[in-house]
């Protein structure tokens, strides 16, 4: 059976304006000071995403021009760290990486991946599906990831199964609700879904912070800029 990739899941409970006023980028992304950054907002809800330019334009000199303050530690995307983040807090390969290393996806086997486990959130805030989301770099030459991978447990045996691979140029990632560790994933085919990070309380903040930092880098170190937060 082919599990649903992202079944019809509508908006989670709306975020209040007071919540929107909560921690800014400058609070969550350190050490780069960002207090003076103007963050564009995405039209809602009928935003028609514009396809972004080819992958190559998502890294390189433009990223450097936008850099502020100390340069975060990152080497090429093919190094042990992806965009400055370890693939996992322990540095050991996690489920999705192990799945790809198992050999069935030969073409994807050597991609460095930053991944986390999430649950898809329904309109009522209930858990709909377990989802593992990762970003990967298809080439060691890339400084930033260029692919989004989605996986989840197979219906028949619960084993992790890769559902989809999406070039990041056709994906928009947002911090949806920081207090609930929720991200919003918007594909260029207008499909939108919400993912809430699943991690032990001890490491959750740190792991979500890594995603926030990644989103920041995808946003500000890519060209053209894509919305990072949104207006309701």
């Amino acid at each position: 059976m082919r599990p649903p990739l992202y079944p019809e899941v509508q908006e989670p409970p709306p975020v209040t304006s007071s919540q929107l006023g909560l921690p800014l980028l400058c609070d969550v992304i350190k050490p780069t000071p960002l207090c003076d950054v103007t963050v564009p907002v995405a039209p809602h809800p009928r935003f028609v995403p514009r396809l972004l330019p080819p992958l190559q334009s998502r890294c390189g000199d433009i990223a450097m021009k936008r850099e502020r303050g100390p340069k975060p530690a990152f080497g090429g995307a093919g190094e042990a760290e992806l965009g400055g983040m370890a693939a996992s807090p322990t540095g050991l390969p996690r489920g999705l990486q192990r799945h790809l290393l198992s050999g069935e996806f030969d073409q994807l086997r050597d991609f460095p991946i930053f991944e986390s486990n999430f649950v898809q959130v329904t309109r009522l805030g209930e858990v709909a599906n377990k989802v593992t989301m990762g970003v990967a770099a298809s080439s060691p030459a890339l400084e930033l990831p260029d692919l989004l991978l989605l996986a989840g447990p197979a219906k028949e045996n619960g084993h992790l199964q890769l559902f989809g691979l999406f070039p990041l140029q056709f994906v928009q990632l947002f911090v949806h609700d920081e207090s609930r560790w929720q991200l919003k994933v918007k594909l260029s085919n207008h499909r939108t879904f919400y993912l809430q990070l699943q991690a032990p309380p001890k490491t959750r903040e740190r792991e979500f912070g890594q995603w926030v930092r990644l989103l920041y880098r995808l946003h500000f170190q890519s060209a053209p800029a894509v919305p990072f937060t949104q207006e309701y």
Binding site: M1, R2, L5, L51, P54, G103, E104, F105, D106, Q107, S138, L147, L148, A154, E156, N157, H159, Q161, L162, F163, G164, L165, F166, P167, F170, L187, S188, N189, H190, R191
Partner: protein
């Protein structure tokens, strides 16, 4: 999940011809009339039984829209089989086959088995491409040919399974080097080949198709 071989398939063709619907029908046995535009790749998998061997089909459903075309090309590599799909009610999707075929030939193994599929055979009243034209194109380019309907499931099983049979035949003839992963074939765990008995939950849909149903 044990299997003797894993075959990588790629589904290609113009946008809207029914690639994702074919995959959904094959893996889930259901039809979804309205489907989001595919971006990147969506994956499906199913076990089939060919000549007594459990074979896992790993299917890469690609985006057909022109703007994704350059990205789609990067997914051909390592495919053992391709389903090249057109819509029998839209002449232009048939006219673009040559371009798709060029891409497939250029970016994949020369041994890749290509199944040409004229989809939406349930829409006979709106037919714009004769079956004979599809047959002729397939003959001219050395492809297998079937007309299918993802809506009624007509010939969908056969399209996927006949492709697997042809790949398996090539393996037996020594035309495919199964140890070369670039050919899109992987050998399953050795111990599983001899112990693969009885359908597991994941193999419920496995079946050995002896001949075309001829429903279309």
């Amino acid at each position: 999940m044990t299997y003797a071989y894993l075959f990588k398939y790629i589904i290609i063709g113009d946008t809207g011809v029914g690639k994702s619907c074919l995959l959904l029908q094959f893996t889930d046995k259901r039809f979804q009339p309205v489907h989001d535009l595919t971006i990147g790749v969506e994956f499906g998998a199913r076990m089939v039984n060919i000549d007594g061997k459990q074979i896992k089909l790993q299917i890469w459903d690609t985006a057909g829209q022109e703007s994704f075309r350059s990205i789609t090309r990067s997914y051909y590599r390592g495919a053992a089989g391709a389903l090249l799909v057109y819509d029998i009610t839209r002449r232009e999707t048939f006219n673009h086959l040559t371009s798709w075929l060029e891409d497939a030939r250029q970016h994949s193994s020369s041994n890749m088995v290509i199944m040409l599929i004229g989809n939406k055979s349930d829409l006979e009243s709106r037919r714009d491409v004769k079956r004979e034209e599809g047959e002729a194109f397939a003959r001219e380019h050395g492809l297998i040919f079937m007309e299918t309907s993802a809506k009624t499931a007509c010939n969908v099983e056969e399209a996927f399974i006949n492709t697997a049979k042809e790949i398996y035949r090539k393996i037996q003839q020594g035309l495919f080097d199964v140890h070369n992963e670039a050919n899109g074939i992987k050998i399953g765990p050795q111990q599983s080949i001899s112990t693969s008995v009885g359908p597991s939950a994941s193999q419920r849909n496995s079946r050995d198709i002896g001949s075309n149903s001829g429903c279309c």
